[in-house]
């Protein structure tokens, strides 16, 4: 029985079948998502909380996708381990190792999503110049200044907010928040979405926590490092195979004794 389970998970055919199934259910889900309002709330809460609170009739495809993804994770892990163990003595170790680095990157990205699905936080609010905003980590943020760069035609080129962090009423640091340049403090990020100056200077602020972000970055770096190495090695190998195949084609056309 165990042997059967192991051979199922150690199969490339299983990986192909699981990928086909996952594509099918995500394809189905992409058409369900725009039709149901419930999916609008998916950005605001962690995935697992949303799944627990939403009706199964609209989330079943996501549950099935998660189940397939779990099987794919086991498949990836076992196939990678088997490959490294079986081929550890081979000469082309870089060609053997790089797909496993890609797989490790993929698994890190899945881990990132798992962590974020449990522990992420997102909150949006409007703040004014002088507003105090309490954060879930116990700190308080004071919005000192809200400003914008406007060109001659009135087009807003950029905006920013100057902030100060307080703990128990004592200032601990200060920072500026700009588009694409959030301020991070104790695991939380402060993002400035947009600003308005009428009737008072105000800004839409987002407070966010993504516990999976460092893992996702590590996974992305691993994936790309492995992919680049594999790309170079595979293309070289394909060229050698092509030369062989070209030779065979010549033989087929001209006969095996041909010198042309």
């Amino acid at each position: 029985m165990l042997k059967k389970v192991l051979s199922f998970f150690l199969s490339l055919r299983t990986a192909i079948g699981l990928l086909f199934a996952l594509i099918f259910f995500l394809f189905f889900g992409s058409f369900v998502m725009p039709l149901r309002e419930e999916f609008q709330a998916l950005h605001a809460v962690p995935l697992f909380q949303w799944l627990a609170e939403s009706p199964f009739s609209i989330t079943w495809w996501l549950w099935v996708s998660l189940a397939i993804l779990s099987l794919l994770t086991v498949n990836t892990l076992l196939c990678s381990l088997e490959s490294v163990i079986k081929k550890r003595g081979a000469r082309q170790w870089l060609l053997i190792l790089s797909p496993q680095v890609i797989h490790a990157g993929f698994l890190f990205i899945l881990l990132a999503h798992l962590l974020s699905s449990y522990g992420s936080f997102k909150g949006t609010t409007a703040v004014y110049k002088g507003s105090m905003l309490p954060l879930p980590n116990g700190l308080t943020v004071l919005f000192d200044e809200i400003r914008a760069d406007v060109d001659q035609s009135g087009y807003v080129l950029n905006w920013a907010a100057d902030i100060r962090y307080f703990k128990d009423g004592v200032q601990i640091s200060g920072d500026s928040v700009l588009p694409n340049a959030p301020s991070f403090m104790n695991g939380f990020g402060i993002y400035i979405k947009t600003v308005r100056f009428e009737p008072y200077p105000s800004a839409i602020i987002e407070v966010s926590r993504e516990p999976g972000a460092p893992w996702a970055l590590a996974g992305g770096i691993l994936f790309l490092a492995g992919m680049t190495t594999l790309l170079i090695l595979k293309i070289r190998r394909e060229e050698i195979l092509e030369k062989d195949s070209g030779g065979r084609v010549k033989e087929e056309i001209n006969g095996p004794n041909s010198t042309s």
Partner: protein
């Protein structure tokens, strides 16, 4: 910008058509497209990759940018290159259907991560397009022997295009994730566009895994390459047209 655009488009198409007879015309068409993108970028003060007009024109130029070196050394190169030129011409015509966006970028898009994300995405789309055309060439010529080059070479070229495209696409996803995290506080959003991007990535992952098995080499992998590009076009244009998403182009 409308007249220079039309003149560039007509001239580029003419060059690519004459490219069937002389390679110099293909080079001229490519140089013209690159020059147009460069001048448009200089005029706008940013990479011209916003909106369907710019991205389709960028994809057309990228198709030729990869197709020209990829077909180097092929027997009867022009006959392999010509269908790929047809793909580039198709994208030029499509780009003319859309109005160019000439407004400055909103602050949230003014970042290296966004520009790298979009540029790499369209490099990969171009390569997936090339792979689909090569897949069709393989299927059409595998039995008749009328191939422009041996079918095995064409199929191997398709694999290489997908491998490089997959690498670019993965980098585009990573860079997009970094940009989204810095701009919106999350590296992933649950929208149909993101879901289709993952479907596309999974599909080419499937292709690369399937091709490791003997059964999938040849016609099945050629077919997968063609289906992949249908998914590319739906991810790029279809989702934006038919589904609400954070990606508005």
């Amino acid at each position: 910008m409308k007249d220079p655009l039309l003149i560039t488009a007509i001239l580029a198409v003419a060059f690519y058509v004459f490219g069937y007879y002389r390679m110099i015309f293909v080079w001229s068409g490519l140089l013209l497209q690159v020059a147009y993108l460069f001048l448009r970028g200089a005029h706008l003060g940013r990479l011209p990759i916003i909106g369907p007009h710019d991205t389709l024109f960028f994809m057309s130029a990228s198709t030729m940018l990869f197709a020209v070196p990829m077909t180097l050394g092929l027997k009867d190169r022009q006959r392999t290159l010509f269908p790929l030129t047809g793909l580039a011409v198709f994208f030029i015509f499509l780009s003319l259907l859309y109005k160019p966006h000439n407004t400055p970028l909103p602050p949230v898009l003014k970042t290296f991560w966004f520009e790298a994300h979009v540029a790499l995405s369209f490099f990969s789309y171009a390569l997936f397009g090339i792979a689909a055309v090569l897949g069709a060439l393989y299927i059409l010529n595998k039995d008749t022997g009328g191939s422009v080059s041996p079918p095995a070479i064409i199929e191997s070229l398709q694999y290489k295009a997908i491998l490089v495209g997959y690498c670019f696409f993965s980098a585009a996803m990573v860079f997009g994730g970094i940009w989204a995290y810095l701009a919106w506080g999350t590296y992933w959003l649950w929208t149909p566009k993101e879901l289709w991007t993952v479907i596309l990535w999974l599909f080419y992952s499937l292709y690369l895994h399937a091709r490791l098995r003997q059964w999938w080499t040849g016609t099945p992998s050629a077919v997968l390459g063609i289906v992949g590009f249908i998914i590319v076009m739906f991810t790029y244009l279809g989702v934006s047209l038919f589904m609400k998403s954070s990606h508005t182009f």
